[in-house]
């Protein structure tokens, strides 16, 4: 049964909430503020009961896939399990009910939590200092690039260019552009790594930064990373690490040790905070010592004398602020909880199992799906659906068909370097049994394509809706419900 829009449920005079009456003499509003400041017509919000809202949202929620209900083999996204303890801790009134401008004397626990999180992130990445302010990965990238810009500017020249591999996530070039840089794309070699010669060709003293992720979005480790770093540093460029793939490396290798100068992390990937249907996440940024003075303001400082913490705003070289206040506290507390649950050993095991799980899928599917990079993969594997495409089914068809088997689709058509890319990241929180069922589904689909590729064009068959007309959505734009055509 189709769930109506909340507006369809509205009926005049119906109410979900009542509010306390004003308990003092109430003057007419116009004696408080001039008439022309006031709203003339009520906003046409729906008029519904609390039960209407509860039933509506509950029913709608059941139309979703989610980690709590389905396996998400979604490459680059690290859709791991989000432990429930994280939510419990984050919703304690001592964290959830603090005003950002409360005196530090009343928020020592929160400051201590932030400080501890910064320290643990330094340990995990091999960086010297962290800011928790950025709200997501892309926000971290922009922060990082603005830090790099400030760094170079302080040295006399902000420089002009940022090098980005062709396999990079769209946010990388976009962030570089917003930070005022020209984007120079460097192609990958056959192993899916940065092509060192082509890299050398574009590297010069106008390069402010080289943005990489390692493992790359091809799911393979950049074996030349130390050389790349040395080359970049030689011309005075800085190395930026897109932390989206850190789930491959915790406890195994650190971007700081590889030579990266700036790092962002996606706590909603590596550190198990929920995706929430598209956020909120958080994108803490770590830097080497030389960049520390530029970090956004304020910074947490521990008073050596009495061990108390305070916010320091006096930061003359700071780039300023990237968002209001300090960061997404509720999310950061979840990430901290997760890190403290694991410890060093536990985190290393996270990456080990993530890598084994991915290679297991690779081993079990590489006969049926083209595997562009034959070396062992790291935490994710990128197949190409070329063969299936020739047989008449696209990567999209495969993705949609998987939904019928109760699996979310892999990331498709990314990285753009791999035709008909199917990017699969199982994460460490899925069991071998789940992987086996997924593998079986992928094999059955490959088989279906050889016998009935046509059928897949109409997949999925078991979802609440069949394929949605995206062309119509864009052409006949309806993004704000006005009213039902009668």
């Amino acid at each position: 049964m189709k769930e109506p829009l909340i507006f369809d449920l509205s009926s005049p005079g119906r109410r979900a909430c009542s509010l306390p009456a004003f308990d003092a003499p109430a003057k007419p509003l116009t004696e408080l503020v001039p008439q022309d400041c006031l709203r003339q017509h009520d906003a046409e919000l729906p008029e519904v009961s609390e039960l209407d809202v509860v039933r509506h949202v509950t029913r709608l929620s059941q139309l979703n896939f989610s980690v709590d209900t389905h396996f998400y083999p979604l490459g680059s996204c690290t859709m791991k399990y989000n432990p429930k303890i994280n939510d419990r801790i984050a919703s304690l009134p001592g964290f959830a009910n603090l005003h950002p401008y409360q005196p530090a004397s009343t928020t020592q626990g929160a400051l201590a939590a932030f400080d501890l999180l910064e320290q643990t992130l330094c340990q995990i990445t091999g960086m010297d200092a962290f800011t928790l302010q950025p709200a997501a990965g892309a926000h971290g990238e922009l922060t990082g690039l603005l830090l790099i810009r400030a760094y170079h500017t302080a040295r006399g020249n902000p420089r002009r260019k940022v090098i980005v591999p062709d396999s990079a996530h769209g946010t990388n070039p976009s962030s570089a552009h917003l930070a005022g840089y020209d984007v120079v794309t460097v192609p990958s070699n056959k192993q899916g790594e940065v092509d060192i010669e082509k890299f050398r060709a574009v590297l010069d003293e106008e390069v402010a930064a080289v943005m990489l992720t390692n493992p790359s979005t091809h799911g393979v480790f950049e074996t030349n990373i130390l050389e790349v770093a040395a080359m970049a540093h030689k011309v005075g460029a800085l190395l930026y690490y897109d932390g989206a793939n850190l789930n491959a490396l915790i406890g195994l290798a650190r971007p700081g040790d590889m030579g990266f100068d700036v790092v962002h992390l996606n706590v909603h990937k590596t550190f198990s905070t929920p995706h929430g249907g598209g956020g909120p996440g958080a994108g803490p940024v770590g830097v080497k010592k030389a960049l520390e003075p530029f970090l956004p303001t304020p910074r947490i400082v521990r008073n050596a004398a009495d061990g108390t913490f305070f916010w320091n705003y006096a930061r003359p070289q700071t780039i300023g602020k990237m968002r209001s206040f300090y960061g997404s506290t509720g999310i950061l507390i979840r990430a901290l909880t997760y890190i403290l649950a694991h410890g060093s050993e536990g985190l290393r095991r996270v990456s080990e199992v993530a890598i084994i799980n991915a290679n297991y899928i690779k081993a079990k599917l590489k006969d049926l799906y083209d595997d562009p990079f034959p070396q062992a993969c790291m935490h994710e594997i990128v197949f190409s659906g070329k063969r299936q495409k020739k047989q008449g089914s696209s990567a999209r068809d495969i993705a949609k068909r998987l939904l019928d088997f109760g699996f979310h689709a892999p990331t498709i058509y990314f990285p753009m370097t791999v035709p008909e890319a199917l990017m699969i990241e199982p994460t460490e929180t899925e069991s071998r049994e789940t992987l086996d069922r997924f593998i079986a589904a992928m094999r059955q689909i490959a088989e279906e394509i050889t016998t009935n590729a046509e059928m897949l064009h109409n997949a999925p068959f078991t979802m609440p809706v069949t394929r949605v007309d995206e062309v119509k959505a864009a052409r006949e734009l309806d993004v704000n419900f006005v009213k039902r055509e009668p």
Binding site: V33, L38, Q123, A138, G279
Partner: protein, 451 residues
């Protein structure tokens, strides 16, 4: 503890199937020199230990439930209906991914479409995106958008009564761009319109005004709009969405963009985040809007169905030419706002806004009757915040009230030179007459205290 189901036995079997002798073979590509570090983290904690130790950390804070707080300044304590937490904590919403696969995400998509529609109704604007990070970054994004939609212009004009943190963000966001940010002075608590007229020229991409502004004062938005329009600059209104239950919406005074912080709509203050930025625009700007947008369409059988739309604006398609780099946004917080607005409904949103108006005026009256205290801007209309000039440095007053368990407000000296005795006081519907009386008594005691 960890959350890994596969046991050592599972993993050995899997390694065999992969065809390697050990895990290390799989990561042989990592140079040995990189594998030598030691990560110094606190020892792993089991769940009971996490509950205990992090619970103890939380209890070293003094939450607002244990205080009486008159702090606002961009983060507001409001009534949060219990149904919101009960609903957004549902795993299907909470642990879902960005709804790229429309067929498996109709729940999130329809709710975001409803969010967009509700925000449009509240602001009176045509188009809303599906969320930005927060109010501050929405200001930064609005500058990108304005500059992108006016590619030849390079001036942004902004009121100095825009939240000081938002102005800082604006400067940070645009640090890599060759543009000029001009700040307008205020007069009697509101933006100086003569200065606005003077600063806004053919080179101005956007003018940003906040109403109610950082001092709580309602700006003359209509007149400002009339000054801005002829210059062709985009008029960006930064608004408190909850205030729009009672105040004139930006759609009615000609704003091109209406943006702001969605936190007042059912989101806990949570020490500053996660919040949600909203961004709405007139139809004209729809192809420039940043962030996700959900559209209503049909499936192959003609049934109503929802999907992300206008993705060609976004970074994953357009890369360095995208309007914005935003990817992960704040869906779940938008969902909170959506549920909040649905629960409040047409009458509730008006009533809650009016209660804020009444309570703040009740408090302003009470405080201005205390000898030594006065409203700083007695002629400017305000919503739920106002500035009080104190008989001593505002920080001193606040320190004294803290001993009574009262957070009196935000001392403005922190952000505005020369305003050391000024205090920004916020009074929402969460405060009752008794709270206001306690505040007034405590203030008058504080004024007469020595040290």
């Amino acid at each position: 503890m960890d959350y890994i189901p596969n046991t050592d036995a599972d993993l050995s079997a899997m390694l065999r199937e992969i065809g390697v002798a050990s895990f290390d073979e799989l990561v042989a590509a990592i140079p040995a020199s990189l594998r030598k570090f030691k990560m110094e983290l606190p020892a792993a904690l089991s769940e009971p230990e996490l509950q205990r130790e992090l619970g103890a950390m939380a209890s070293r804070n003094k939450p607002l439930d244990a205080l009486t707080s008159f702090l606002g300044a961009g983060a507001y304590e409001h009534f949060i209906p219990s149904a919101i937490d009960a609903l957004v904590s549902r795993g299907e919403l909470y642990t879902a991914y960005t709804p790229y696969q429309a067929e498996a995400s109709q729940g999130t998509l329809q709710l975001l479409y409803e969010y967009q529609s509700l925000i449009c109704r509240l602001t009176g604007m045509d188009i809303s995106n599906a969320s930005l990070y927060d109010g501050g970054s929405a200001v930064g994004e609005s500058a990108y958008l304005a500059l992108n939609a006016h590619p030849k212009r390079n001036r942004i004009v902004v009121s100095s009564a825009l939240h000081p943190e938002y102005r800082q963000i604006l400067r940070t966001y645009t640090a890599g761009m060759d543009i000029e940010v001009v700040e307008l002075p205020t007069r009697d608590g509101v933006t100086d319109l003569d200065a606005l007229a003077a600063a806004t020229n053919e080179n101005t991409a956007a003018v940003l005004l906040q109403s109610p502004n950082f001092f709580g004062c309602i700006e003359p938005m209509q007149q400002a709009g009339e000054l801005i329009k002829p210059k062709g600059a985009w008029f960006v209104a930064v608004v408190n969405p909850l205030s729009l239950g009672a105040l004139r919406p930006p759609g009615e005074y000609g704003a091109d963009l209406a943006i702001g912080e969605g936190q007042p709509l059912g989101i806990p203050v949570s020490y500053g985040g996660p919040y949600v930025g909203f961004l709405t625009s007139s139809k004209q700007l729809v192809h420039k809007v940043s962030g996700r947008i959900v559209g209503r369409s049909v499936d192959t059988e003609g049934r109503e169905a929802f999907c992300l739309t206008l993705q060609a604006r976004e970074q994953h398609i357009r890369r360095e030419k995208a309007t914005s780099n935003i990817c992960t946004n704040q869906s779940l917080m938008a969902l909170r706002a959506c549920i909040f607005l649905a629960l409040m409904g047409k009458r509730g949103i008006r009533e809650i806004a009016e209660l804020n108006l009444r309570r703040s005026h009740q408090a302003a009256d009470a405080i201005s009757r205390i000898p030594g205290f006065a409203l700083k801007f007695p002629h400017a209309p305000f919503f739920n915040e106002f500035v009080v000039t104190c008989p001593a440095p505002a920080q001193t007053i606040c320190d004294r009230l803290e001993r009574d368990g009262i957070l009196a407000g935000l001392p403005l000296g922190r952000f505005y030179a020369g305003m050391e005795c000024d205090l920004l006081v916020c009074v929402t519907e969460t405060k009752l007459t008794g709270d206001i009386e306690r505040l007034a008594e405590s203030l008058s005691r504080a004024a007469s205290q020595k040290v």
